[in-house]
């Protein structure tokens, strides 16, 4: 992974010192609330319902075991012993004290981590496929480009006060795991006619209020022009994006109101001015960034070793876990393991300090000391020898980390919701739990097969409800918490937004509504059709009929 040199270290230290000074001026009353607000947000600090919340950046979801142990330390010493992985591959702590924030940031800096630009109206953490570098369907590893974007966007002086937050995702695989099309900018690695790798760039996607799918601005950008192309889009957005209404300030509204043709023209005009400028990437820089993401020292191994075959035959529970949580690896004899943080009774994405330390140890033993975080709030050990899978599974069980529900109905995406978040209209964690409790039979889950349920406690859509096969949105109805259900979303290559089923439901109705939705699917599916395909074939009506007819 990327290693800081003296420049990166120095700037990070300067940032910690800067925020320490800002925090003490705020505590001394020399900086007022409004003036401190964007400063603390750009250092990851929200003020939540119960305490400040600190959101720590995990650049493109990649962590070393050393960094994971530091997060465990922070959970233990500054929080109540747990953290929460988010849909943006970051981690949040819910209970730190504001006065401790500068110290926490200093601890993070020791392991090349920070909370820079994890909130506020600036360029946020760049995200990518959690399987980057090991996926079998990869064009090229996306992480060097993510790192290039990370550096360019970090402390960018021109884009620290944008109209609204700005999220960039990069995808280097055939199957899009990064929800790329619903980002403010989505970057796809593509090959030109002459087989050179470059970028197809979309803009104007986004969730939240008025969700939209991004539209193409550049069909092909050469590698060296990546940053100037991004900068051109950002500059047009910074100047033209609406600042009169917070809810219309995202780039998606600008692209929609301007029209993609005119928007593209403005961007190209800006790009022509800066295209060959100093920000043009050099081959040396691209090679330098690539050099941090080389393959680990894989051993010569065969696929499907005896140890694995035997264990799969003799241990049915291992087989169940293997079938869900293990994916093929580009290197023969290796596998990608996803640790699902979706234990019923624990908030999706939550992890304890003990588990953090434990996974750090396992990554050292089994996966070259690296860990990835997925936007579906799970953790990935990306380089595990197939012959070691059984041992690893046994070890995972000891810390309740061997959940075998990956990709199934109970692998729910869920924001912290009304239990923690000051923005939420409704709670979301208890909804996830109620659904998980209703669907507690593994063979039933396997029969239902692949399906995504995404839950957000408010319109801001941190739980990506617009792109869940089933989306659940918490709404406020005259002071009471209700839940609007919608169907048919996807964040993959065939990205689509959900359609609302009908009037919202009370909290206690949700599990039975989900049950009815599943019934309609089961009754209508043909052969091995998954939920989304059935929905796309039969449409919303059969679901509506079943659910609202019975309610009458």
């Amino acid at each position: 992974m990327y290693q800081y040199n003296q420049y990166d270290h120095k700037m990070l230290a300067e940032r910690v010192a800067q925020f320490r000074d800002q925090t003490s001026r705020y505590i001394d009353g020399k900086l007022n609330e409004a003036e401190f607000l964007p400063l603390r947000l750009q250092n990851g600090l929200y003020v939540q319902r119960l305490a400040p919340m600190l959101r720590i950046a995990i650049p493109y979801g990649l962590l070393s075991s050393r960094q994971l142990r530091k997060l465990a330390f922070i959970a233990r010493h500054y929080d109540k012993g747990y953290g929460h992985f988010t849909t943006r591959q970051n981690i949040q702590f819910n209970w730190p004290e504001l006065k401790d924030a500068p110290d926490i940031l200093a601890h993070l800096a020791e392991v090349e981590m920070h909370a820079i630009q994890t909130s506020g109206n600036c360029i946020r953490n760049t995200t990518t496929d959690q399987f980057a570098g090991v996926a079998i369907d990869e064009l090229e590893d996306s992480r060097p480009y993510c790192e290039i974007i990370r550096q360019w966007s970090t402390f960018h002086p021109e884009f620290a006060y944008l109209p609204r937050k700005f999220k960039i995702a990069v995808c280097g695989t055939v199957v899009d795991q990064a929800a790329t099309q619903v980002h403010d900018i989505g970057v796809y690695l593509v090959r030109s006619h002459s087989h050179k790798v470059g970028f197809r760039i979309l803009a104007g996607g986004g969730l939240g209020r008025t969700p939209m799918i991004g539209q193409e601005v550049f069909d092909f950008v050469e590698q060296k022009h990546l940053l100037t192309a991004l900068e051109a889009i950002l500059r047009v957005y910074n100047r033209q994006g609406r600042r009169d209404n917070k809810y219309k300030a995202r780039i998606k509204i600008l692209v929609k109101e301007t029209g993609i043709e005119k928007f593209r023209k403005d961007v190209l005009e800006e790009w022509q001015r800066i295209k060959e400028g100093a920000q043009t990437l050099t081959d040396e820089e691209i090679q330098r960034c690539k050099s941090f993401f080389t393959e680990p020292s894989y051993l010569e191994r065969q696929d499907s070793p005896n140890e694995l075959i035997q264990a799969l035959k003799s241990e049915p529970l291992f087989l169940k876990w293997y079938e869900r949580n293990v994916r093929p690896h580009k290197q023969s004899g290796y596998a990608i393991v996803t640790v699902a943080l979706k234990e019923t009774g624990t908030a999706p994405g939550d992890i304890t300090d003990t588990q953090l330390d434990y996974i750090a140890d396992l990554s050292d033993e089994y996966s070259f000391g690296e860990i990835r975080v997925s936007h579906r709030q799970n953790v990935v050990l990306a380089d595990v020898e197939q012959a070691q899978l059984y041992n690893l599974w046994q070890r995972l069980q000891r810390q309740s980390l061997a959940n075998d529900n990956l990709g199934l109905l109970t692998d729910i995406i869920c924001c912290p919701g009304g239990d923690f978040c000051a923005l939420a209209n409704a709670k979301s964690i208890p909804i996830a739990e109620a659904i998980q409790r209703r669907f507690d039979d593994h063979s039933e889950l396997l029969d239902i097969n692949e399906i995504t349920i995404n839950i957000s406690g408010c319109m801001n859509a941190c739980g990506h409800h617009h792109v869940g096969n089933i989306g659940i949105l918490g709404v406020d109805k005259k002071g009471a918490e209700f839940y609007q259900i919608s169907l048919g979303g996807s964040s993959q290559n065939d990205a689509s937004l959900t359609k609302v089923l009908g009037p919202a439901f009370a909290e206690e109705e949700i599990p039975s509504v989900i049950e009815k939705i599943i019934d309609v699917y089961k009754n209508n599916r043909v052969e091995h059709e998954v939920f989304l395909d059935t929905y796309r074939r039969i449409g919303l009506e059969p679901f509506k009929d079943k659910i609202y007819a019975q309610a009458d």
Binding site: Y7, M11, P157, E158, P163, R239
Partner: protein, 166 residues
């Protein structure tokens, strides 16, 4: 009277900023003063301004673009860019465009909500003068320019990005 920081030091200001101007009579009343006038006003009363006032400069609101001025911008010793709110980031892009695209060499002054914690980024985008808000501590503001020793990007202050300097 806002305090002025220029080239990293406190300076006395010999310009008067005309916040709003309805007609040329405001200039007539104070002959030969050096005025910074709103862009729209300058466009309408170009002739009169030249006649009545001493040196003239203009200031732009954050939603106005420097393209509106054309080649005449090089006649101004000073162009001020307003921050109606410190969270309105458009003037950062305007400053940068003035320097980078129009090769403007004169003074670019930040006016309006100019606060200590934004000075560093402003300076990187090409501002070289800062009319800090009246309640800002000038000594504290002077320190802001050394908040960071460098940056990753190509900027006006450091035209080469870090990857060309590592």
């Amino acid at each position: 009277m806002p305090k002025l920081i220029k080239n990293g030091a406190l300076e006395s200001d010999h310009w008067t900023i005309l916040k709003e101007a309805t007609g040329p009579e405001v200039l007539q009343a104070t002959l030969n003063k050096n005025f910074v006038v709103p862009l729209k006003f300058w466009k309408t009363y170009n002739q009169e301004i030249t006649e009545y006032s001493g040196e003239t400069a203009i200031w732009l609101e954050s939603d106005e673009t420097v393209q509106d001025i054309g080649s005449e911008l090089h006649n101004f010793a000073l162009i001020a860019l307003n921050f109606p709110s410190f969270t309105d980031g458009r003037s950062y892009s305007n400053a940068r465009e003035l320097r980078e695209h129009f090769q403007y060499k004169g003074e670019i002054r930040a006016i309006g909500e100019v606060l200590r914690d934004q000075l560093f980024y402003m300076s990187r985008c090409g501002f070289d003068a800062f009319a800090i808000r009246h309640d800002q501590n000038p000594e504290a503001c002077l320190k802001a320019f050394s908040d960071f020793s460098t940056g990753y990007q190509a900027t006006i202050a450091e035209p080469e990005p870090l990857f060309r300097r590592r």
